[in-house]
């Protein structure tokens, strides 16, 4: 095992990890504000993938160009879902919220199965196999573009929360819901907006990741689990933590695939998750809130 093999794996893992991080951001935003674990996470992301697939088939649109469209579409989906359905279970115990979102997840997978069938489908862009070399480091264009797109979307999101009035209002809801209500914020609208933003991240991440992987409906639960692992490692509710966790998982999976067996890579993620849960349950960058 020479240095360059490991370096290539690390860089590849890092680039994919940024896309994973963007997807995990979507989970983290929703949990951080609404305090609901979105068990339909991967399903919404796969919806984004299928949307980008259709755009490619119908209009010949590069998946990266359909990122804004996928984000907008999923924003609408998330907004309506929170406003009409999820908001009605906020007073129920955790296991009922889990069941509701798990049932919605099952519905999404089944609907996708009905429409698209079970086979894996992908897009082939002209630069699919192009790469460039830095020394012996070989970097694929699709991976690099995907990572850049993920970073752009994530930066926009972070800027939104930092700089805009609406972003601040959402953060206020997350810090103190009652206080936000007292000062006159429309909390239910802001919650719907938050779920929409979280879902938009997933739509964007889905469109981006279609550049790298083929899509089929049963992909969804795997992405949900992956995002759980990432946000727990990074800190559930911490936005920056989600990106760091994504990179960490991307790199560790890539290294595990090279050093051991590719099929063992997820075992490492879950092992890492168990360790983090035990040693630092609030995550690497999360605040201890219990």
């Amino acid at each position: 095992m020479d240095f360059w093999t490991l370096a290539n794996a690390t860089v590849g893992g890092l680039l994919i990890g940024l896309v994973y991080g963007l997807s995990a951001l979507g989970l983290s935003v929703i949990f951080g504000v609404i305090r609901i674990v979105n068990f339909a996470h991967g399903e919404i992301m796969v919806m984004g993938m299928f949307f980008a697939l259709l755009m490619f088939r119908w209009l010949g649109l590069d998946p990266l160009l359909s990122v804004p469209l996928a984000a907008a579409l999923m924003f609408g989906f998330g907004y309506v879902l929170q406003l009409l359905v999820v908001s009605r279970v906020s007073h129920l115990p955790e296991h009922m919220q889990f069941l509701l979102l798990a049932a919605i997840a099952i519905m999404i997978v089944s609907a996708l199965l009905l429409v698209f069938g079970p086979d894996a489908q992908g897009v082939e862009v002209d630069y699919a196999w192009d790469s460039f070399a830095v020394g012996e480091l070989i970097i694929d264009y699709p991976k690099m573009f995907a990572a850049i797109a993920a970073v752009i979307v994530a930066s926009l999101l972070l800027a939104f929360f930092k700089c805009t009035a609406t972003g601040k209002a959402i953060r206020a809801c997350a810090d103190n819901r009652m206080g936000a209500q007292v000062v006159g914020l429309n909390v239910s609208r802001l919650y719907a907006l938050t779920f929409g933003i979280g879902a938009a991240c997933l739509g964007a991440a889905g469109a981006i990741i279609l550049l790298l992987f083929e899509v089929h409906p049963y992909l969804a639960p795997g992405y949900t689990l992956l995002a759980f692992v990432i946000v727990i490692i990074g800190g559930l509710g911490s936005l920056f933590g989600a990106l760091v966790g994504g990179i960490l998982i991307g790199v560790s999976e890539a290294l595990a695939a090279v050093l051991f067996q590719p099929s063992m890579k997820t075992a490492f993620s879950f092992g890492l998750l168990i360790l983090i849960l035990l040693l630092r349950p609030q995550g690497l960058l999360g605040k201890a809130v219990r």
Partner: protein, 348 residues
């Protein structure tokens, strides 16, 4: 009150009659039902057993598990391996199977308690352990890895009754799983009214107050976890010898864990009859949807060429959503109140 009457304390006269009639119908099922109905009924009782086990963990110990497939799977693999490797009959093999499942449960429960991991985080911990074990077994060649682990069955095994080796006619499996599911119900009923059950309820309702009164929270929570995972382990042994094939992708799949929770949540978490009632609603419902689709295709309402693989689950998911939104306490308490199955002062 007679002991029997006292046991079914919360049930009203109407509830007793209806329950008795239903039980009789089920006992006589091999005489009136087709083999298809019997397969569905076996699934129902199997899921009811797992549901009861899951309900015990959440309803009594307050721990939300979304990794219950783990305990079922450990029980299944242990008994199947011991049977195939050294010919240990499952009637004995169930002991190490349950033992390992309980150990796993205690490990996760202890870690959760020791590190104060509650609620969603505990649920994610159970998922993580289930996934971890699944991937590990994917790579253990002597357990068949991804190719699956198979138990030999001959045509002769399909007749007669051999309870020690869990080989026999479908009727045997039916009565066995029925006895196990009803046994779990009786056990839970017994536990709920025991000293242990009152400790559990005290801990669930106010852990700090219970601790202040001298209840050892860790010990009693661990009891609940041990009993719950042990029950799931028993279900796993049944699964192994009923299916005769074990695949990590199927046995430990997170969908199995979600399945384990559905019946109880639909029936009513923390209620005694909720898990069994919920599975009696959900599983046949899924089958009816499948049948209805087939019938519509047969009548030409739907083009038979159309693949409708996802439709059943789509409708099923929709019904679950409706139940969560409109009957969040579960269907059993609601049905009880409607049909006066329980006496007003007692809870199901």
């Amino acid at each position: 009150m007679t002991p029997v009457r006292r046991f079914f304390g919360p049930l009203s006269r109407a509830g007793l009659w209806l329950g008795g009639a239903f039980l009789l119908l089920l006992l006589l099922l091999p005489w009136w039902g087709s083999s298809y109905i019997m397969t569905v009924a076996i699934t129902v009782f199997y899921l009811a057993l797992i549901g009861q086990s899951w309900n015990l963990m959440l309803g009594f110990a307050g721990l939300l598990s979304i990794g219950h497939a783990l305990f079922v799977g450990i029980g299944a693999y242990t008994a199947a391996y011991l049977f195939a490797a050294i010919g240990l009959p499952p009637v004995i093999g169930v002991l190490p199977a349950v033992g390992l499942a309980v150990l796993m449960g205690l490990l996760i429960g202890y870690l959760g308690f020791r590190f104060a991991i509650g609620g969603v985080y505990f649920a994610l911990l159970t998922i993580a352990f289930a996934e971890f074990v699944r991937i590990v077994i994917d790579h253990v060649s002597w357990l068949g890895a991804t190719e699956g682990f198979f138990l030999k069955v001959s045509a002769a095994d399909r007749h007669g009754i051999d309870l020690a080796n869990l080989r026999g006619a479908p009727e045997m499996y039916y009565y066995l799983i029925m006895a196990l599911a009803l046994g779990a119900l009786v056990l839970c009923r017994f536990l709920l009214r025991s000293r242990l059950g009152y400790y559990w309820q005290a801990i669930r309702d106010d852990a700090e107050a219970a601790q202040a009164l001298g209840v050892n929270i860790l010990r009693y929570k661990m009891y609940a976890v041990a009993i719950s995972s042990g029950m799931a382990g028993v279900a796993g042994v049944f699964y192994a010898f009923y299916q005769n094939s074990l695949f990590p992708e199927i046995v430990f799949n997170i969908e199995r864990s979600i399945e384990a929770t559905l019946g109880s949540i639909v029936g009513g978490v923390g209620t005694l009859f909720g898990p069994i009632f919920g599975t009696f609603i959900l599983t046949p419902l899924g089958e009816i949807v499948t049948e209805a689709i087939d019938l519509l295709k047969h009548w030409g309402v739907i083009d038979p060429q159309i693949k409708l693989d996802g439709l059943k689950l789509l409708i099923w998911g929709f019904i679950v959503v409706l139940i969560v939104l409109f009957k969040p306490k579960g269907l059993w308490p609601w049905v009880c109140a409607r049909l006066r199955l329980t006496r007003p002062e007692a809870e199901g």
